[in-house]
Symmetry: C2
Subunit: 193 residues, 2 copies
DNA sequence: GTCTATAATTCGATAGAC
DNA sequence: GTCTATCGAATTATAGAC
């Protein structure tokens, strides 16, 4: 039995794979899907471009691996009901700032159908599931989640992609103070007639 | 004097130019900047690709001409103060639905720096100017405009780009009812301490 | 004004030596 | 596992005939 004969082959080339993924996320986040080239990603990771193909099969396969993402939403039932909006904005802001994967996904979703599909899945599944914790009307739950997504993605789009000066310059805490009531109403507000 | 010797040369080739711009807007809106090729645009407009270059110089020049846009914001001082949010959402929704130029700009802004710059200009100039009609604090005015942009662009991004099902399926009137209070607060609400 | 032909790049992907 | 060499396709852009 080899020293590393465990279940899922802990190869020593895992470091290379990780370096590729890190470089890929950076490039996809900075340039979008089309402009991010396998050659450039390989150069950033200081490996040969053909290794990227060997490990991930194709550019789409690489993106799929690099864009794996979990929103890590907290259990909303354990949050004081009046602070739902605040907790959610703060969580999303921290998630956007701390992991460029979401920016890569956001930028790629604009032009790449597969990335858009992945984005739909993340928000339809993870966010809708979190919102479904309170409220039984499925259509209404989906609508609430969609509205929350519209504000959260708009925040990300204006702050990280288009970089509108007022949205870039404003401190996170002040953004939270402005936007929290919006999410609070989308989550718990009375639906319009 | 030729029959059409007026001020700004009303050439008969203007029809061709218009057809090119229309096809360009469609392609840029559907595919984004990189995937929209001059060849495909020319094919849509049923002309030779070289004519596009002759008329607009380069792909960037074509995009710059096709992405010319005016939000046509109404004078907000003549709107009942309590209905500001509603008027604004409704106006934006109609503007998005009726003119694919904004979708083209939105999609291209994700990957093309020039398009992002144009987007910044449109929202920083036109929207900020409209918001400046009430309120004298310039920093606060810019922030209000940025927040409005974040929600409006998020609405467009989720509805027209990512196409989140709940945002696509919901009728415009209901979207207005949900989102109007958000814009109302961003425009007229008391700033957080 | 319109079109053909092609230059000059660049990219994703493959084949195969070592 | 890693790298060299290269294919084949697609792109923007240009030159020049008609």
């Amino acid at each position: 039995m080899t020293p590393s004969a465990q279940s899922a082959q802990p190869r020593r080339s895992d470091a290379t794979r990780a370096a590729i993924l890190r470089a890929a996320r950076e490039r996809f986040a900075a340039d979008g899907y089309e402009r991010a080239t396998i050659r450039a990603i390989a150069a950033d990771a200081q490996i040969d471009p053909s290794m990227v193909m060997r490990y991930y099969g194709s550019k789409e396969g690489l993106f799929a691996a690099a864009a794996e993402f979990d929103l890590r939403l907290p259990d909303l039932t354990s949050v004081p009901p009046a602070r739902l909006g605040e907790v959610l904005v703060r969580h999303f802001l921290a998630r956007w700032e701390g992991d460029e994967t979401l920016v890569a996904l956001l930028r790629a979703a604009s032009t790449n159908p597969g990335a858009a599909e992945r984005m739909r899945g993340i928000f339809a599944d993870q966010l809708t599931a979190a919102v479904a914790a309170f409220g039984t009307d499925r259509a209404l739950t989906a609508r609430r989640a969609g509205l929350v997504a519209s504000q959260v993605l708009g925040l990300a789009f204006t702050r990280y992609i288009v970089r509108l000066p007022p949205m870039v310059d404003t401190a996170p805490d002040e953004l939270v103070a402005w936007i929290a009531p919006t999410l609070q109403r989308y989550l718990t507000g009375t639906p319009p007639s």
